[in-house]
């Protein structure tokens, strides 16, 4: 930092709110910021490229995107008969002439949507169950944790199969909702652990002595203190849910044709790896970039919310400074 030592000390002693400290630390985490910027730009890019498609077959609301082809258009083969990438089709074409860029955009759109639905539903249910379980303890805790064990045993592939059979290709949202209903177990355990420790703390006793109700203690005292754990595990849930969706689609129990998702695209074109590798690389790279960005954001948030992290960074900066000083002294 180029700041003068005096100014740095002023910043150090200035009273910062919890939120500001966390924001500052998060902004210093370069991979997390890179991930966040990528996710924002990529989401805008994807949704503006393929447009927005809502509603059922009967009443479809469609806002056209800026990309000239739709993923459903059957086009004549372009310059390259084998469908290799060209100026007109940057990601190439598949054998029946569809534009692969449009397909990948549509696939990313679906995968992102499924990810957000699973993540937010899972985070909500997990937080509620973990909070109630950890706060009340005793018999309620025991029952809820055994219920969690029960949910863990239900395989997601089975849910995919049931939804696929009963709702057909239109069931993407339903699939995401049901996967979300079963995806909260890990998060609930973590939140419960956090609540178990926090409820023993003095400030909870103080609030209770002051006459606060359980609801007030949970929402005003414990929840703000455990928001770090919740946010961090939500990001982890998001990155794992995009892998769950793509894995299911890969096996044929997730998103079904004619709709597309990144996993489905990888599955369909893995056999063409030798002669049309771009069909395999694009969806895979996008999928990895999404998962990687979210993992980095999660890591940045974890560091930002962890009060102990600060000391380590400071110690390291101090060690660096000391090394510099000895180096200059030796010269």
């Amino acid at each position: 930092m180029s700041d003068s030592p005096v100014k740095a000390r002023e910043i150090e002693t200035e009273g910062l709110s919890q939120g500001k400290i966390i924001l500052k630390k998060f902004l210093q985490h370069k991979p997390a910021i890179a991930g966040l910027i990528f996710m924002i730009l990529f989401t805008i890019f994807v949704y503006s490229a393929s447009g927005i498609h809502l509603g059922s077959d009967q009443a479809r609301i469609t806002i056209q995107g800026w990309w000239k082809y739709s993923h459903e258009d059957l086009l004549p083969m372009g310059v390259c008969a084998s469908g290799c990438p060209s100026a007109d089709h940057p990601f190439g074409q598949i054998s029946n002439g569809r534009d692969y860029f449009a397909l990948v955009m549509r696939g990313s759109e679906i995968s992102l949507m499924v990810m957000v639905i699973i993540g937010s539903l899972g985070a909500f249910i997990g937080t509620v169950i973990g909070a109630v379980s950890g706060f009340f303890g005793g018999i309620i805790d025991a029952v809820m944790m055994r219920f969690t064990d029960f949910i863990i045993t239900v395989p997601s592939i089975l849910i995919g199969a049931v939804i696929g059979h009963n709702f057909g290709p239109q069931g993407v949202v339903v699939l995401a909702v049901f996967l979300g209903i079963f995806a909260w177990t890990g998060l609930a355990r973590l939140v419960r652990g956090e609540f178990l420790t926090l409820r023993e703390r003095e400030f909870v006793d103080a609030a209770r002595v002051a006459g606060a109700s359980n609801t007030r203690i949970i929402f005003k005292h414990i929840l703000p203190n455990s928001v770090g754990v919740i946010i961090v595990s939500t990001t982890l849930l998001l990155s794992s849910s995009i892998l769950i969706e793509t894995g299911l689609s890969f096996l044929g129990f997730g998103v079904k044709a004619p709709d597309v998702s990144l996993g489905l695209l990888i599955n369909e074109y893995q056999s063409q790896f030798t002669f049309a590798p771009w069909l395999f690389w694009w969806p895979g790279l996008i999928l990895i970039l999404i998962a990687l960005s979210i993992n980095f954001i999660g890591d940045g948030l974890r560091d930002a919310f962890d009060p102990r992290q600060r000391r380590d960074v400071k110690r390291r900066a101090m060690a660096k400074k000391a090394a510099q000083q000895t180096a200059t002294a030796n010269q």
């Binding site: 045993t153 096996l251 030798t274 380590d312």
Partner: protein, 511 residues
């Protein structure tokens, strides 16, 4: 404690009942098992449908049919479980399971052990050298691996590790520029682990580069990849180096007793080289290999025991691990001796991309048969290890960092205990406690969790069986695989809780 475990087992059974009931009904409503027959043009299809409906009691609504199924399965209590007959294949489910379980176990065991060992080792190194370049690189690597879908990795491995390597074997010479690049990268990795000041880093990079370059050059010049072997000299050199390395890690090189005990064990291993090969060429079987391994373990234990009077722990560790490694090198060398023959039998394409073993392989030789199993294992094991080791790396790093900031670690350091002992005796033992829970859960998830891997590599295991059963709406087959997976999952949760309380006495069971 006992009453706690007893109650938990009772609840576990209840959960098992609930989850099998839910899954049975979910599966029953996921499709019509007779759909294929209904759509066929067979004139007798009405009778077939009626027959199957009766045989599989499809006229009974699923919630009630579950109890008919449960009644048969509960035969497990009298030692005769009946999982029914698969609708699609007409084979008893228990037979399919008996074929699938060994494949899955073979697939996941090695991968899990590797992932745990490599992940925890790297996690510890990463934590000890927090905020070093190595730590940042390992963290980045872990995040990339976390984000990889296994089916994507699998396709790449097939393309480059199997097909690419097999093509390379047609003309097994590494060209000079590739040798340079590979040696530079490998040297960089080694130097990263050695670490230290910039000067030390550059020196170790240079030395490692020279060694790798010379080895690759030698391997190309002598067609080593076609006819690999270590020989007794190679085994001795590798074993000796490993034993010195182990001594450095577990006892420190200034501990002469550990140093000599390790070398003695390695020496015994070298002395066993010819007797082992003599036996191995005669009638090799699993009993012989296990017997050899046990003998080496017992002997090396006594070597460690005899070398010391006090503080036997580290010496025995070094001695026994040296014995383990030199035995591994000896067995590896024996496999290498069969490599050329296997190479010929597979028409020059030894690394396999599909299925668990080669059914057309025509050989009775123990080493060839096992080499066949190994070449089929390489790809799925690599894929599974890569994906799952990142998790262990992150968890063990966090856990070790947490423990290293504890007061008792500071106390140990203040007492003047060497850093190695602080980490090995005070920090690691405590850091590993939370990891046991993770490991217990992972092991439970493994038998059912390798669905995608088995699918991509064409293995007939539990996962592919389940996927197939769901695809064919085969309720009996699905429930067969599912009840085993669910049973293991429930038991692992229980085991994790119990192990945790045993390892960490601070955690008390209430009630």
């Amino acid at each position: 404690m006992l009453s706690y475990v007893g109650r938990r087992i009772g609840i576990a059974l209840l959960i098992l009942f609930g989850s099998t009931f839910l899954s049975y009904n979910l599966a029953a409503y996921s499709g019509d098992p007779l759909a294929a027959i209904r759509e066929s043009t067979d004139p007798k299809k009405e009778t077939i449908i009626a027959e199957l409906t009766k045989a599989y009691q499809l006229d009974v609504p699923p919630p009630a049919r579950y109890f008919l199924w449960l009644q048969k399965v509960l035969g497990v209590l009298i030692g005769k479980p009946d999982f029914g007959i698969a609708v699609s294949t007409r084979i008893p489910v228990i037979d399919s399971l008996a074929l699938a379980i060994p494949n899955t176990v073979r697939l996941v065991t090695l991968a899990t052990i590797l992932a745990i060992v490599i992940g925890i080792t790297f996690g510890i190194i990463s934590a000890i050298r927090q905020y070093s370049r190595l730590d940042y690189s390992l963290t980045f690597l872990a995040f990339v691996l976390f984000s990889l879908p296994i089916f994507w990795v699998a396709v790449l491995l097939k393309e480059y590790m199997a097909i690419g390597f097999n093509d390379f074997l047609a003309k097994p010479q590494i060209e000079l520029q590739w040798n340079l690049i590979a040696s530079l990268i490998l040297g960089l990795i080694v130097a990263g682990f050695v670490g230290g000041t910039r000067k030390r880093f550059l020196i170790s990079w240079g030395v490692a580069f020279a060694i790798f370059f010379a080895l690759f050059f030698f391997a190309s010049a002598t067609n080593w990849f076609l006819n690999p072997s270590l020989g007794i000299i190679g085994v001795a050199v590798l074993g000796g180096l490993t034993s010195v390395g182990l001594c450095h890690v577990f006892a420190g090189l200034q501990n002469k007793k550990a140093f000599y005990a390790g070398l003695t064990s390695a020496g015994i291993g070298v002395a066993m080289y010819y007797p082992f090969n003599l036996l191995a060429n005669g009638s090799a079987n699993y009993q012989m290999i296990i017997g050899f391994a046990l003998l080496m373990l017992v002997v090396s234990y006594f070597v460690g025991y005899l070398f010391t009077k006090v503080d036997k722990g580290p010496v025995i560790t070094v001695s026994m691990l040296s014995a383990v490694f030199i035995s591994l090198y000896t067995v590896l060398d024996r496999f290498m001796q069969s490599w050329q023959q296997y190479f010929v039998e597979t028409d020059g394409r030894p690394i396999q991309t599909m299925s668990a073993y080669n059914i057309t392989l025509d050989s009775n030789d123990f080493w060839i048969i096992n080499l066949d199993i190994i070449t089929h294992l390489i790809l799925p094991t690599t894929a599974l290890t890569l994906i799952s080791f990142a998790g262990y790396l992150r968890y063990s790093r966090a856990s070790v960092l947490e423990v290293l900031s504890m007061d008792y670690v500071r106390t140990a350091r203040a007492k003047g205990i060497p850093e190695r002992e602080v980490i090995l005796r005070h920090a690691l033992r405590n850091a590993m406690i939370p990891l046991t829970t993770l490991i217990a859960f992972d092991i439970a998830g493994l038998l059912g969790g390798a669905i995608i891997t088995e699918n991509v590599f064409g293995w007939r295991g539990m996962g592919s069986l389940a996927a197939e059963a769901i695809g064919a709406q085969d309720l009996n087959l699905l429930m067969g695989t599912f009840s085993i997976t669910a049973f293991l999952a429930v038991m692992a949760t229980l085991a994790a809780d119990v192990i945790y309380t045993v390892l960490d006495p601070r955690i008390r069971i209430r009630g």
